[in-house]
């Protein structure tokens, strides 16, 4: 840490840190309010803009109503299936492709790279892709959500470049010992690529957890909707009635219920975040600006 040397330096530090503090408040305040509303009982909901309600008055009523509802349990289950199933498909498809294309001596590698580049650069839009999924009759199955994005081309490029930088000697030594290519991949390449695998895996997993558009597009049945779609319906007031009993004894407002459902949907992300954020940073820089 640099020592504060002069009055000018001191002023500079104060201005800088006050600015950062202000940004911090701007980012945290809206999220704080969501949390506050979710624990505020109905009768206090007009106090202090819902920003400062003493913990003694907090209630978990909104959470218990939301968490015990069958719609939530179903949506949560669907989200887990889509996230883990989707991730498994992502890795099953992306890793072999990235590994094969990282082999410099592979005949036809140039042509294959061109083949991959074309759809990466040119996107004909939503409808032609929608027609592919519908013509395969994948609507109303989780496959429609998990398969079309099985290989994120950008993610595959990052992985391929990482694999390509693993020293060839290591791989060659194993091959001379008679190891199969799959052995080389699983026992030598993948263990050396753990950081990039984690990063790409997390990008995919978060993408699935947050996905709401493709489920809306392809899954019409309420039974298949994942958590973000349920949240969207609640926020748009499409099925709030299901959740709130409008009687005089109700402990929670619709507002609290909305807040609780928002908070629950982002909670897994926020809990995992402190541990995984450094991998995200790595991933964001791995692509770099070479694009």
């Amino acid at each position: 840490m640099r020592k504060i040397k002069s009055r000018e330096e001191l002023t500079f530090q104060i201005v800088t840190n006050v600015f950062l503090g202000l940004l911090l408040v701007i980012v945290i305040l809206p999220l704080w309010r969501v949390f506050m509303l979710s624990v505020t009982p109905f009768k206090y909901s007009d106090d202090s803009f819902g920003l400062l309600v003493s913990p003694a008055k907090w209630t978990i009523e909104a959470y218990s109503q939301f968490l015990s509802h069958p719609s939530f349990l179903l949506a949560f289950r669907n989200s887990l299936i889509i996230m883990f199933g989707g991730l498994a498909i992502n890795l099953f498809m992306t890793v072999p492709m990235a590994y094969s294309l990282s082999i410099r001596t592979l005949p036809g590698r140039k042509g294959l790279n061109v083949l991959v580049m074309i759809p990466f650069l040119f996107n004909p839009g939503l409808i032609p892709a929608y027609l592919v999924v519908t013509s395969l009759h994948l609507q109303n199955t989780f496959w429609a959500v998990m398969i079309p994005g099985a290989i994120g081309i950008y993610n595959m490029f990052i992985m391929r470049n990482f694999f390509a930088e693993i020293p060839i000697d290591l791989k060659e030594a194993a091959r001379i010992d008679g190891a199969s290519e799959l052995f080389v991949l699983f026992r030598i390449v993948l263990p050396l690529s753990l950081p990039i695998m984690l990063t790409i895996g997390l990008f995919y997993a978060v993408g699935h957890w947050n996905e709401f558009f493709t489920p809306i597009l392809y899954l019409n049945s309420n039974k298949l909707q994942p958590l973000p779609v349920l949240l969207r319906n609640i926020l748009m007031g499409l099925n709030t009635n299901e959740f709130v009993e409008y009687d005089a004894f109700s402990q929670v407002s619709v507002q609290s219920l909305k807040a609780a459902s928002i908070f629950i949907t982002m909670l897994p992300m926020m809990m995992a975040y402190p541990w995984i954020q450094k991998y995200f940073v790595k991933g964001s820089l791995a692509g770099g600006i070479k694009g």
């Binding site: 840190n17 492709m97 083949l115 074309i118 759809p119 040119f122 939503l126 709401f212």
Partner: protein
């Protein structure tokens, strides 16, 4: 005689070359096996849409399918270009996109500079971690947060306005406010994440330069102005140019979640229009034509701005 021997040796040469290639292919067979399923996937889900894009030039009938629907030439494109929506969509898309870039990029750079200059190590770490958290929230969650912040009956901002004696504002439904909400909420969500690359670029600057400046007695602001900013200007320009290449992507998920009929005039972008025309109104051919138009224009923009960035960076080396 000489002729045949030449042709024979040529033949042998090509055959051995062919054999060598064949040998290489056999030697790499495990990789082709690994590529098989991904390539099948590519053919169906990445090239399938390119094949289906032909319906932009057809009058698509669900019963006839993509191949048997009748050709109509550029009719769908002409319909779109001459429709009243065309300029509105282009204007909205460009305005929201450029607004996000014009506000988001300086914010990210300033945030990176402030984090870099702060001498409170734990505090700046915390700021950094918190500011890029929102990047990982989905737009559904963001919409919920925005509702509890901006809606007329339950939004914090409106409660404050009312407490001060003002009249509530329907920020999300008012065409006067909606573009501001779109741009500011995007900057709010992405500024921390975008700052990462500038922070990385700043750490790449030679520390010797700062030490020399300190010896010379340059103030902090002067050091930022004459060392840090010139040190990262290449990165800033590159990011700006790359972003300009994708200027037609104005944030589909964000708009899809937050817009409503009253703000179509300022919030409807190419992507949301394509979605409504195609998926909701079954105008598949028209929607595909517009998507294709966007794809072609987008590709040329990416190409042009990539060239520009390469030229700029080369020039800046001197």
């Amino acid at each position: 005689m000489a002729d045949t021997s030449v042709s024979q040796s040529l033949d042998r040469a090509t055959r051995s070359k062919g054999n060598r290639l064949w040998g290489e292919i056999v030697r790499h067979r495990a990789f082709y096996a690994m590529l098989f399923i991904p390539l099948v996937y590519f053919m169906i889900f990445k090239y399938g849409p390119l094949v289906n894009a032909q319906i932009a030039f057809k009058d698509f009938m669900a019963l006839d399918g993509v191949w048997k629907s009748p050709w109509v030439g550029f009719k769908n494109f002409i319909t779109f270009f001459s429709s009243i929506y065309f300029w509105e969509l282009i204007r909205n898309t460009m305005f929201l996109s450029l607004g996000k870039l014009a506000l988001g990029l300086p914010m990210a750079v300033i945030l990176a500079l402030a984090i870099n200059e702060s001498s409170m190590r734990r505090f700046k770490r915390f700021v950094q971690t918190v500011t890029y958290l929102p990047h990982f929230l989905s737009w559904v969650v963001m919409y919920g947060v925005l509702l509890l912040l901006l809606s007329p009956d339950e939004g914090l901002l409106n409660e404050i306005i009312k407490a001060l004696g003002g009249k509530e504002i329907a920020f999300l439904q008012d065409p006067k406010w909606y573009p501001t909400v779109v741009i500011l909420s995007d900057v709010w969500k992405e500024m921390g994440w975008s700052a990462i690359i500038y922070l990385a670029a700043i750490t790449g600057i030679d520390p010797g330069l700062y030490e020399a400046a300190e010896v010379e007695g340059a103030s902090r602001l002067k050091r930022i102005r004459y060392i840090t900013l010139p040190g990262i200007v290449d990165v800033i320009v590159t990011i700006a140019l790359l972003r300009l290449g994708t200027i037609l992507d104005a944030g589909f998920h964000q708009i899809f979640m937050t817009y409503s009929v009253p703000v179509y005039s300022v919030g409807d972008i190419i992507d949301t229009w394509v979605y409504r025309q195609g998926v909701l109104d079954f105008q598949f051919s028209l929607a595909t034509a517009v998507g294709l138009f966007k794809g072609v224009l987008g590709l040329s923009l990416v190409w042009a701005f990539n060239r520009l960035s390469r030229r700029y960076l080369d020039a800046s080396l001197f």
